[in-house]
C-alpha cells in the first residue's frame, strides 16, 4: 500500500462541520422516532414516560387518527401511478431532446417553469380549472396531474443529464450491425440507462408520496396521507402523530433501500456479464 498523504488541518474542521450537518439532518428525526415509543401516558416531549408500542396500535383505531389505512393506500397508489408516468414521459422527452426540434426550447423552459412555479399556485390553478370545466377534483385526476408537474421536471432533467453523457457510438455500432431502431433501443440503449430510469422512478414515487402543497386543492373529497398528517399537526396532541411519522418515514427508507438494492444488483449482474 502506498503511504497516504497527510490530511490537512482544514480536513478536520470540514469533517466536523459535515458531521454536525448530518446530525442536524437526522437528529430531530430520531427524536420523533424515540418519542413514538412513548408510554401510554406520555406526552409530546421528552422525557419518555415508559416505553410501549401503544401509539403504533393507536394508529389503526379510526377514532384516533382518521382513516390512516385508506389515506395510506391512496397515497401509495397515487405514488405508483405518478412513478410509472414520470418514467415513461421523462424517458420519451429525454429521447426527444437528443435532437434539436422546433419548439424544443420553449418546452424546455416550460419544464423549468414547472419546477419554479410555487406549488400553491399549481394547486389553486388546477383546482379552479377543474371547477370551471365542471370536473370534480379527485386525487387520481387533478391530484395526479398536480403531482406530475412536480415530478416530471426532475425526471426530464435527470434524463437530460443521462443523455448528455451518453455516447451515440453504441447505437451507431448496433445500427452498423444491422439492428432496427427498435432493437437498438430495446437491446442497447434501454439496458444502459436502466439504472437511471429506476432512479427517476424513485424520485417520482417519493416526491409524489410526500407531496401535499400541490394536493391541497386537488385531492377532492378524499385525503392523501400527507394531507392527513398536515391536518393532524393542528389538532392531534398525542404521540400518535409521531408514530405515524415514524411509520411513513420507515416506509420511505424501505423504498429508497429497495431501489438502491435493485440498482446495485443490476450493476453487479452487468459487471459479471
Amino acid at each position: 500500500m502506498q503511504q497516504r498523504e497527510k490530511r490537512p488541518f482544514s480536513f478536520y474542521i470540514l469533517a466536523a462541520f459535515f458531521a454536525l450537518f448530518v446530525l442536524f439532518l437526522y437528529g430531530p428525526m430520531s427524536a420523533i422516532f424515540i418519542l413514538s415509543f412513548q408510554g401510554p401516558n406520555g406526552g409530546l416531549t421528552f422525557p419518555l414516560n415508559g416505553v410501549s408500542v401503544h401509539w403504533f396500535g393507536n394508529l389503526f383505531e379510526k377514532q384516533a387518527v382518521g382513516d390512516f389505512g385508506a389515506s395510506f393506500s391512496r397515497s401509495l397508489l397515487l405514488g405508483l401511478m405518478v412513478m410509472v408516468s414520470t418514467v415513461l414521459v421523462a424517458l420519451l422527452a429525454g429521447l426527444a431532446f437528443r435532437r434539436r426540434f422546433l419548439g424544443g426550447t420553449p418546452l424546455f423552459y416550460l419544464t423549468i417553469a414547472s419546477l419554479v412555479v410555487p406549488s400553491i399556485i399549481v394547486s389553486l390553478g388546477i383546482g379552479v380549472l377543474f371547477q370551471q370545466i365542471g370536473f370534480r377534483p379527485a386525487w387520481w385526476t387533478s391530484g395526479f396531474g398536480a403531482h406530475l408537474t412536480w415530478t416530471l421536471p426532475f425526471g426530464v432533467l435527470i434524463m437530460f443529464a443521462v443523455f448528455n453523457r451518453f455516447s451515440p457510438s453504441y447505437e451507431e455500432a448496433a445500427r452498423d450491425l444491422g439492428a432496427s431502431p427498435w432493437q437498438t433501443f430495446r437491446h442497447v440503449l434501454l439496458p444502459m440507462i436502466a439504472p437511471s430510469l429506476i432512479g427517476v422512478g424513485l424520485f417520482g414515487f417519493s416526491l409524489s408520496y410526500d407531496e401535499f402543497a400541490r394536493t391541497l386543492m386537488t385531492a377532492g373529497t378524499f385525503n392523501t396521507l400527507p394531507l392527513e398528517i398536515y391536518g393532524m399537526t393542528t389538532n392531534v396532541t398525542t404521540p400518535v402523530l409521531y408514530a405515524l411519522g415514524t411509520v411513513t418515514t420507515l416506509f420511505s427508507f424501505a423504498v429508497i433501500l429497495l431501489t438502491l438494492g435493485i440498482i446495485l444488483l443490476i450493476r453487479r449482474k452487468r459487471a459479471r456479464a
Binding site: F24, A31, I32
Partner: protein, 304 residues
Amino acid sequence: MAVADQSIAVPTSKPKTRKTPLSFGRLASYLQSIPLCLILGFFLLLPILLLVFVSFWDYDFARMYPGFVFTNYVETLGSWVTWKTYLNTLKFAAIVWALTLFIGFWVAYFLAFHVRSATMQMVLFLVCTVPFLTSNIIRMISWIPVLGRNGLVNSTLVEMGVISQPIEWLLYSDFAVVLAMVHLFTLFMVTPIFNTLMRIDRSLIEAARDAGASAWQIMWNVILPLAKPGMAIGTIFVVTLVMADFSTVQVMSGGQSASVALMMKNQMSLLQYPAAAANAVVLLVLVLLLVGGILRIVDIRKEL
C-alpha cells in the same frame, strides 16, 4: 424561430435552410415530446392562464363572476398588510438563501475535495440526499419536541444551569421558521454544488498550486468561480421553495408570522379565489423575475 416558420410556409424562398424539412428523426422528436407537452400544457400552462383571467373576476361569499375588474389587485396591492407579507417572505428567502448557500457549499466542498474514495463519497452523498425523499411535514414537526418549551434543548440547558427559564423564542418564532427551512432546503443547495465541484478538472487546482497560489487564492480564484453555476441552480431551488412555502411558516411560527403563500391559502379556504389568483399572479411575476435574473448567470442546459 421566425426564420424556421417562414421556411415551412414558403418553402421556395429559402430552400437551403434545412436539408430535410421533416426527417424521421424530427418527427420522432415531436411524437416523443407530445406527452410532456400535453401534461404540462393542461396541468401547468392552462391553470396559470386561467388564474390570470380569474384574477380580474369579481366574487362574493358564494361564487365568482366572470368580468374585468381591478378590485382584486387594488385590494391586494393597496393593503399595507400585503406589502408587509411580501417583505416578510423576501426576508425569509434572503436569510435562508444565505444560510443554505454557506452550509451547502462547505458540505459539498468537503464531499468533493476531502473525501478520497469514490464509494465513501457516494455513501456520504446518499446520507445527505435520503431525507429529501422523506416527508417534509414529518421532518418539520420533528423540531417540535426538540425546540419546544419543555423540549430537548430547553430542558438540557436548564439542567446544565445555563439558563434558569426555558427560552421562549426557540419554537413558534421566526427563528424556528428559518431553522426548519434551512433544515428542509439545504439539500437543494448541496446537490447542484456537489455536481459542479465534481466536474472541476483537478489539474486546474494543481496548476494553480504549482504557480504558487495559496489555498485561499485557489478557493477564491479557481474553485468559487467554477462552482457558480451549481450555486445558481441551488439558489433557484431554495428561493422558489421559500417563496412558495406556507406550511413551514404556519406550523413553525405558530401563526405569528406570515408568508405570501400562507395568505393565499387563507384566501382559498375562504373561497376568495379571485383574490388568491391576484396574489398568485403577483407572486408568480416576482418569482419568475428572480429566476430570470439568476438564469442570466447560468445556462442550465449546459450544466446537466
